[in-house]
Symmetry: C2
Subunit: 605 residues, 2 copies
C-alpha cells in the first residue's frame, strides 16, 4: 500500500523548503500575499494524499496494460481517468497558475514540490496534467486573450488536455527540419499538413478535447528554425460559445511502445493528412496562429525551460521514491552476517542488509543524488518565483540569468544521477529488484526516458557550453559564480568542517571557470564542443556539491540535532569525498582539449 | 533480419583469436591435436549462422511472450523448442566437452567465442543449453562414473537439460543459510525437502527431463557453508536402463517475472513439499549425493568460476550486439548539420548522426567497452585451456592462479561496462532506442541481470579484495603483475606510442598494487573492505587497459594497416585517455581508507 512516505520524504521537503530556502518569506511579496506557510503546507499535504491514494495504486497497471489503438481511437484503462478526475477536483493545476488567469498563484517552488509527489507516484498518469499545464502557460504568455479564454479555461478545469507537437519522424533533435506546413486562409485561420512524432498525450479519450500546440512552417518562411510558427490546433473545433464542435483533421496514426513511461500515450499524429476530414470542410487541420509568424521557436523555448526543469523534477521524483523503497527493503531484508573488525561472525544470526557497508554505500549514494537533485530543482523553481516577484529589476534579471544557465543542468543532472539511483535501488534489492513484483525496476525503466526527451543529454551539453556559459561575455557563469561565492563566504565564516568543504568546493569551482575559458581559447567551436557532454557532467557535479554545501549549512541552524540532520551532513560529506572528485579527470580531459573522439574517422568504428 | 554481422564482429574475433591470442598454437598440444584453424573456423561459422538464423529471430518474442505457468506445468512458445532442437543438432554442447566424456574437446577459448554468438542473438533461449553445460561439467568433475553415464550423456545429446539450485528465498547471497534438508535412506539415496528460488530453467516442457543439482544440508551437518552437500535430483526418476521413469517430487511453485531475460523460465521450486508425491512412494524428492557429503559448496565453486565467466561473456555479447546495432543506426540516421571549425552550417543538408562528435563519443566508448570485454573474456577462457594443457605443472598452476584472480573482474567488469554500452546504444538511437520497435532497449533490460546473478557486484568486490589478491601472501596479484609486466616490456621495446601507453599503464598498475597493500595495512577487514566495490571497479579498469595495450601491440603485427586496425588503436587511445583516469579518484579514496560509508549510522539514512 502506497503512503506519502514511500514517495518523498516529508521531513526533507520541510527542511529544504523552510530551513534552507525559507520560502515563507515569499508571502511578504505582493504577488504571493494571499499565501502563507499554512496554504503551502495544505497544498503539499493534499498532493501527498491524492498521489498516494489515487496515482500510486495504478502505477503498475499503467505499465502492464498499455494504452491501445484500435485504428481509430486510443484507449486507456479506467484507473487513469478516475485518477485524473480526482486530480482535477483538487484544483492544483489552477493553483499553479497566476490569479489573472484564474489561478491561485501558488509559488512555483511549492507547486514543483507538490507535483513531485505525483511524479513519484505515477509518471505515466501525471504526464497528462503536467503537459496541459505547460501548454496553458505558453498560451497565457503568448496567446491572444481570446485564445486564453477559449483554451486555457477548460484546461485549468481539467476538462481539456494539452500537448506540445514539435518533433517529426525526420526532425527530432533537429527542429530546423520541421516540415509540417501551415497555410493561411482568408479568414485568418490556417490549415496544417504534416506528421508529428513522439506526441505525449497525443490522442486518448481522457478529456473532452485535446489542445495541440504545433510548430509548423508557413509558405515562403525562412529555412531553419527561424521559419517556424506556432499554432493552436484542437482535436475538436470549438464553437463560438466555447462548446466542442466538429472533429478537426488531426488523426493518430499509431502508438509508440516504449521501455517505460508506458502509462502516457505517445503517438504519431497526422495533421491534415488523415483519412478523415471535417465533414463538408476543406482539407487540412484547422489551426490558429499563436503570437506572430516565425516566432514559434522562441515561444516554444519559453515553455521549454519549464519543461526541462519538469523533466529533471520527474527524474528526481523517480529516484527519490526508489531510494525510499530500497531503504525500507534494506532495513527489513535479513541476509548474511556482519563483518566486524575481528572478521565475519559466522555464528551470528542474519542481519538486515542495511548493516552491510556496501549496501549502505548504495543507499548513501542514492541519498546524495536524490536529495541533491531535489535541492537543485527547488532552487531553480524558486528562481522562477524570484524572476516574477523580486523587488528590483536587477534581482529579477539576475534570477532569470541564473535560471537560464542552470536549466541544462537541472534537466540533465537528475536525469543521469537519479537514474543511477534507480539502478542502485535495483541492486540493493538483489534478484528481487529485477522482478516486476517490486517497484524499482519500473522506476528505472520509466526514468530512462529522461536523458532523451526535451533535449538529449548531448543537446544539453551543447546548450550549456556552447550557449549558456558564453553568452553575454560569460555573464551567466559569473552570476552563478557570485551566488556560489556567497555560499563559500558563509561556509568559511561558519568555520570547522563547513570551512573545509568550502575550501574544497572553491577549488573545483575555480577549475570549472578556468576550464570554460580554456576550451574556448582557440575559438574553434568544433574543438571546444567536442567534449561538451563531459563539461555538462563535471559542472553539474560541482553545482550539486554547492547545493549540498548549502544544505550542510542549513543543518547548522535547523534546530536540535537529530538523525535526520546528521544524515544530511553525512550525505554532504559523501558527495564531497566520493562524488565530487569524479570531476577531476573530466576537467583534465577538457583542459587538454582532448580530440581523440573528434579525430575518430567514422570508418574506424 | 539478423545476420551474424549484427551479433559480433567476425573481423574482431579473428583479430583477437589469431592475431592477438594466436590460439592455433594450442593445436600443437596433445589435448587439442585433433583440432586445427579450420575446425575452429568451422565451429565459429556454424555458431554465427545458427545464432542468426534460429536464435535471433525469436528474441523479441521471448520478451513479449513470457513463459507461463498453469499451476502445474510451465509453457514456452514453440520457437524456443525449435531453436533448441537445431542447437542440439549442431553438437556444439558436446563439442565443448572433453573427449573422455563424449565431447570433441574444442578449446574453451573457441567455445566461449562460439557461445557468445548465441548470447548476442538471444540470451533467453541460449541460457538452457549453457546452464546444462555447466551442470554437465560439474557432474563430470565430481560425479561418479555412473552419474556421468546416467545424466551427462542425455544432456550432451540435447534431450535433457540441467539446472543449478543454490538460492532459497531466505538465502540468496548468503549460502550459509541454505535450509533445504537431505535425509539419507537405507538404499543410499536421499530425500530432499525444501524450496529453491531463482532457478533458471527450473521447469519447462522443453526437454524430456531436467537434471537439478541441488545444495542441501544433511541432518547433523555443520552449520554454515561447510555443512552443504550436493545432490543430483532429476525431475523424472531414471530407470535402470536410462529411460525416464516416474515423476520425482520436484514441483514448480511459481515463476519470477523479470525486467528482462524473460525468455528463460525462472522458478520457485519445491522439493519434497509439493502436493504431488511419487505415486506410492514415500515423501521427499529423490536425490543422489554427488561426491562426498559436506563438500557441496566446493564442488559448486568449481562450476561457479566458469559460470561467472559465462555471465561476463553474456554481458559482453549483449553489449557487443548493441554496439553494432547503434553503429549501423548512426550511419543511416540523418539528423542535424555538421559542426565545423567555422561553426554550424545551417544551409547544409542533414548528415548521418555518426558525423556528430558526441555520437561518435558514445560509439567509441561502446567499442572500448565491448572489445575490451571480449579481450578480457577470451584471455580468461584461454587460461582455462592453459590450465588444462600447458606443458609444465608450473605453467598450469600459474594459469589457474591468474584465472582465479581475474574471475571476479571477468564477471563484473563486462556486467558493469557492457550494460553501460547498452545504455549508450539506447542514447545513440534517441527516442527510437527507447521504443520496443528497436532491439537495444531489450538488450539493456536483459543485461541488467548480470550485475546481480552468480554473485552480485558487491560480492565480487569482496571476493577480489578480501580473498583473491591476499590469498597465498598475494601470489595472485603478483602473478597478474608478472604478465602485465611482460606486456609493458614488449610495449616499451616497441617504442613510440606503445611505449607511452606502457608508461601510463605502469603508473596505474603500481598504484593498484600499492593501494592493495595500503587498504590492508591496519589489518582491519571492516575498514579494508569498506570500499571493496570501488577497488573492484578501479582494478578492473586497469586490467582492461592492459588488455587494450595487448590489442594495440597486436595491431602492429597484424598485417597491412586498414580502417579496422586504426579503429582498434583509436579505441585503445580512447580507453587510456578517457576511461583509465576515472580510477584516479577511486584509488585516492581507497588509499585514504575512506570511512564515510562505514561510519554512516543506518538511522541517518
Amino acid at each position: 500500500m502506497a503512503t506519502p512516505a514511500t514517495l518523498l520524504s516529508h521531513r526533507d521537503l520541510d527542511f529544504q523548503l523552510h530551513d534552507w530556502l525559507r520560502i515563507t518569506a515569499l508571502t511578504e511579496r505582493p504577488r504571493y500575499r494571499e499565501h502563507s506557510r499554512e496554504t503551502f503546507d495544505d497544498a503539499l499535504a493534499l498532493s501527498a494524499r491524492v498521489a498516494a491514494d489515487h496515482f500510486a495504486p495504478h502505477n503498475k497497471r499503467n505499465d502492464g496494460e498499455e494504452p491501445w489503438f484500435d485504428g481509430e481511437r486510443v484507449h486507456t484503462h479506467e484507473d487513469v481517468a478516475d485518477a485524473l478526475a480526482v486530480f482535477a477536483e483538487t484544483g492544483l493545476l489552477a493553483a499553479a497558475m497566476d490569479e489573472e488567469h484564474g489561478g491561485m498563484g501558488l509559488p512555483h517552488v511549492v507547486s514543483t514540490a507538490c507535483f513531485a509527489y505525483f511524479q513519484a507516484a505515477n509518471v505515466g498518469t501525471s504526464a497528462y496534467p503536467f503537459l496541459t499545464l505547460g501548454n496553458a502557460r505558453l498560451l497565457c504568455a503568448h496567446g491572444s486573450p481570446e485564445q486564453v479564454d477559449t483554451y486555457v479555461r477548460p484546461m485549468l478545469e481539467g476538462r481539456w488536455f494539452g500537448t506540445m507537437c514539435l518533433s517529426e519522424p525526420q526532425a527530432g533533435s533537429s527542429l530546423a527540419d520541421v516540415a509540417t506546413r501551415a497555410e493561411r486562409r482568408a479568414d485568418g485561420t490556417y490549415r496544417l499538413f504534416g506528421t508529428k512524432m513522439w506526441i505525449s498525450g497525443g490522442d486518448h479519450e481522457l478529456s473532452e478535447n485535446i489542445v495541440h500546440l504545433v510548430l509548423a512552417r508557413t509558405p515562403g518562411a525562412p529555412a531553419g528554425v527561424k521559419g517556424l510558427s506556432l499554432f493552436v490546433v484542437p482535436k475538436y473545433l470549438v464553437e463560438a460559445d466555447g462548446t466542442r464542435g466538429e472533429r478537426n483533421d488531426v488523426v493518430p496514426a499509431g502508438l509508440n511502445h516504449k521501455m517505460g513511461y508506458r502509462g502516457t500515450t505517445n503517438t504519431l499524429l497526422n495533421f491534415g493528412e488523415g483519412a478523415r476530414h471535417r465533414p463538408g470542410g476543406e482539407a487540412g487541420a484547422v489551426g490558429h496562429l499563436v503570437g506572430e509568424e516565425h516566432r514559434g521557436l522562441a515561444y516554444m523555448f519559453h515553455m521549454m525551460n519549464g519543461a526541462r526543469i519538469g523533466v529533471g523534477a520527474g527524474a528526481m521524483a523517480l529516484g527519490y521514491t526508489g531510494y525510499l523503497k530500497s531503504l525500507a527493503y534494506a532495513r527489513e531484508r535479513p541476509q548474511g552476517r556482519p563483518l566486524t573488525a575481528a572478521g565475519k561472525d559466522a555464528d551470528a544470526g542474519q542481519v538486515p542488509i542495511v548493516e552491510h557497508t556496501d549496501v549502505r554505500r548504495m543507499l548513501l549514494a542514492q541519498k546524495s543524488y536524490v536529495e541533491g537533485a531535489l535541492g537543485l530543482l527547488l532552487y531553480c523553481a524558486k528562481l522562477v518565483d524570484e524572476e516574477r516577484s523580486a523587488a528590483s529589476h536587477e534581482e529579477r534579471a539576475r534570477a532569470a540569468l541564473l535560471l537560464d544557465v542552470l536549466t541544462p543542468i537541472a534537466k540533465s543532472w537528475p536525469s543521469q544521477w537519479c537514474l543511477e539511483a534507480n539502478d542502485l535501488a535495483i541492486q540493493v534489492h538483489g534478484g528481487y529488484g529485477y522482478t516486476r513484483e517490486y517497484d524499482v525496476e519500473q522506476h528505472y525503466r520509466d526514468n530512462r526516458l529522461n536523458p532523451i526527451h526535451e533535449g538529449t543529454h548531448g543537446i544539453q551539453g551543447l546548450d550549456l557550453l556552447g550557449r549558456k556559459v558564453v553568452r553575454g561575455g560569460g555573464e551567466g557563469l559569473r552570476a552563478l559564480g557570485a551566488v556560489i561565492g556567497g555560499t563559500l563566504e558563509r561556509a568559511e565564516a561558519a568555520g570547522d568542517e563547513a570551512a573545509g568543504l568550502a575550501a574544497t568546493l572553491r577549488g573545483y569551482w575555480e577549475r570549472a571557470v578556468a576550464t570554460t575559458a580554456r576550451v574556448w581559447e582557440p575559438g574553434d567551436p568544433q574543438v571546444a564542443l567536442a567534449n561538451a557532454s563531459l563539461y555538462l557532467e563535471a559542472v553539474g557535479h560541482v553545482v550539486v556539491a554547492w547545493i549540498w554545501l548549502e544544505q550542510f549549512l542549513a543543518t547548522l541552524e535547523a534546530g536540535p540535532d537529530d538523525a535526520f540532520l546528521r544524515g544530511k551532513r553525512q550525505a554532504a560529506r559523501y558527495f564531497f569525498r566520493a562524488e565530487l572528485p569524479r570531476t577531476g579527470p573530466q576537467f583534465d580531459l577538457l583542459a587538454a582539449r582532448e580530440t581523440v573522439v573528434l579525430e575518430t574517422d567514422p570508418e574506424w568504428l
